[in-house]
Symmetry: C2
Subunit: 332 residues, 2 copies
DNA sequence: TTCTTTTATCTCAGCGCTAACATTATCTCT
DNA sequence: AGAGATAATGTTAGCGCTGAGATAAAAGAA
């Protein structure tokens, strides 16, 4: 088909300018005469020139890559963050390069190292937990770093997210407000998920402030899923502690719990109130919309990208609280 | 912190070899004396050397990037394919660079162009529909190309997926088998989603083979979601055609339909049978597991990557059928 | 032993682009 | 009109790595 991929030199020759001028037109940098710009663009079109990013990156020691490190893809939450990142990147020449850690800090470190090999413009990861080595790499790289989802900590550069402790507390307050006092908790395995843990602690704190404590709890040994939520609620209720409400580690688990109630003919919220976290679409489509707390995943991703692309790293870290809101629902 | 990022030259100097030898050790290519290899590795460790991918790509005119183009991230299906891709890439030096088209072939073409600027090792996209220009770029690039999800077409290089027509037919057969004859259809807006369309056609074909036709249908104007499914089923039933079963365009829609039945006290499957497509976890956690067809998303992604990394592009295209299986469920 | 093959390494040029500086033409201000 | 600023372009030297071929040392074959 096409003989050879055309290079900037080919474009420059056809347009009758130097390679550097052509490069400046492509990058829209420096001052260029309108006529020259047009001729170069015409040459680009006729040749179908596409810049070689590797060469550009090498020469400038910086690339149009945004490294994105996510803990998981199994849960719809992170794809939604990714969607926000994409939205923020739309119309820019940046491309996301993604990695998945499975909540393993060692893998994260490895990913950071291999992403830095591309000299990305920025790296986006989650939370404040990193290995020492990973933190050093991120700090030393000088590039912009976004730590998403959480804001209860000290960011390397910027953090965008919400306070999971506060969200947990808000769950507690909501339940108390509605008159529930015998509150149980159902969680997935969050040994590696600091944020779920923070919500749990916030919940306990909120209950304590009202003079209560968790009446019972059940934590599975699996990742969060509707299946796991269903099973865990069954187990919790089998403990035979009298409960009037259950708080779940997230909506997936809560939806599972709702399914258990449906199957077992437990009336929600009369016999048992349910509360989740995340505000997933599925929870709002249940026969009774799930009472939950909306985390703004899409906004987190989008906001982070926009801020990261705005300017170079500033001296002091920045925290952006994207907040959360209570979804009233009908399960409490 | 670290003075300067160490280069291959630094490693070579410390190990007392030439840069090229060091490079060969890093890439594990050519024959190297065991002692040399060790010395180089030691040097790499002490310096904390990380290869500059941009330089490598430029010199070799090929990169360790796998371009991944997905139609959407809103539906859990594609993140699962991506998960499969990740799984297949684990332990290799390849990194996925992803783009999202929102089912827009123009955007796909643009993404292909900008991904090719990185000289990726392979490009993975979905389906057989591409603009002429996109197809030409993919063919002309000479790199390996994976077209995922569908197998009813002629691939550029390899296609990995399942026959959506056959899946639709299987839905029809299943419903007929169970004695349902007044079958309705609920779909999302699939003007840009050829595969949902193919399943619809397969369904009609399957019904026709048994001497039946679709008794009623309702197609929304939104993307698929539980909410949309719930609303669309309500609308379908309002048509006041006597139905004994409804086939949905996918599980999200079907779960929404199930919710409608729960809320409206329509007994499933006695009064109305429901059937979905995809085999999502949520469907299997309903009080009555959803009857559906399992598409092997994870396997599609993983298989594709494994095949693409195996060797260069062969002369003739290849089709890999990852198949589908019926999940019996309790809603038919 | 001498010639050939194999193994292990080195030298050198260059991938396609951009940063930095040099140069020329065009203004602006006194 | 001459000095200095500004705009528009050109020249040069790499960025850090890899491919191709050259070379030297070790091993086998005749």
């Amino acid at each position: 088909m096409q003989a050879e991929t055309p290079t900037l030199d080919d474009v420059a020759r056809l347009a009758g300018v130097s390679a550097n001028t052509a490069s400046r037109v492509v990058r829209n940098k420096g001052s260029i005469a309108a006529a020259t710009r047009e001729r170069v663009h015409a040459a680009i079109d006729t040749l179908g020139y596409v810049p070689n990013r590797a060469a550009g990156s090498l020469a400038s020691s910086s690339s149009m890559i945004i490294g994105v490190i996510l803990p998981s893809l199994s849960n719809i939450v992170f794809p939604e963050v990714l969607r926000g990142i994409h939205a923020g990147l739309a119309g820019t020449p940046y491309q996301p390069m993604i990695g998945v850690t499975d909540y393993d800090l060692g893998k994260e470190q490895q990913l950071i190292s291999s992403l830095l090999a591309w000299q990305p413009a920025a790296i986006i990861t989650t939370g404040f937990d990193h290995t020492d080595s990973a933190r050093r790499m991120l700090e030393g790289s000088g590039i912009r770093v976004g730590e998403l989802m959480d804001i209860d900590g000290t960011p390397i550069d910027i953090a965008v997210g919400l306070s999971h402790r506060m969200a947990g507390k808000a769950m507690a307050r909501r339940l108390i407000e509605r008159g529930y006092t015998k509150v149980g908790y159902v969680g997935h395995d969050w040994t590696d998920d600091r944020r779920a843990n923070a919500r749990y602690l916030g919940l306990c704190e909120g209950l304590a402030e009202a003079g209560h404590t968790l009446a019972a709890e059940e934590r599975g040994h699996d990742a969060s899923s509707t299946r796991a939520g269903r099973a865990a609620l069954a187990k919790l209720l089998a403990q035979d502690v009298k409960l009037d409400a259950v708080a779940f580690s997230n909506d997936d688990m809560a939806v599972g719990g709702f399914m258990h109630c449906l199957a077992g003919e437990i009336s929600v919220p009369n016999e048992l109130a349910l509360m989740g976290f995340n505000g997933l679409e599925i929870g709002q489509s249940l026969p009774k919309p799930l009472s939950t707390i909306l985390s703004n995943r899409f906004a987190i991703g989008k906001t982070a990208v926009e801020l990261l692309l705005q300017a170079g790293r500033s001296s002091d870290p920045q925290i952006i609280d994207t907040g959360f809101s209570l979804l009233d629902g009908a399960t409490t």
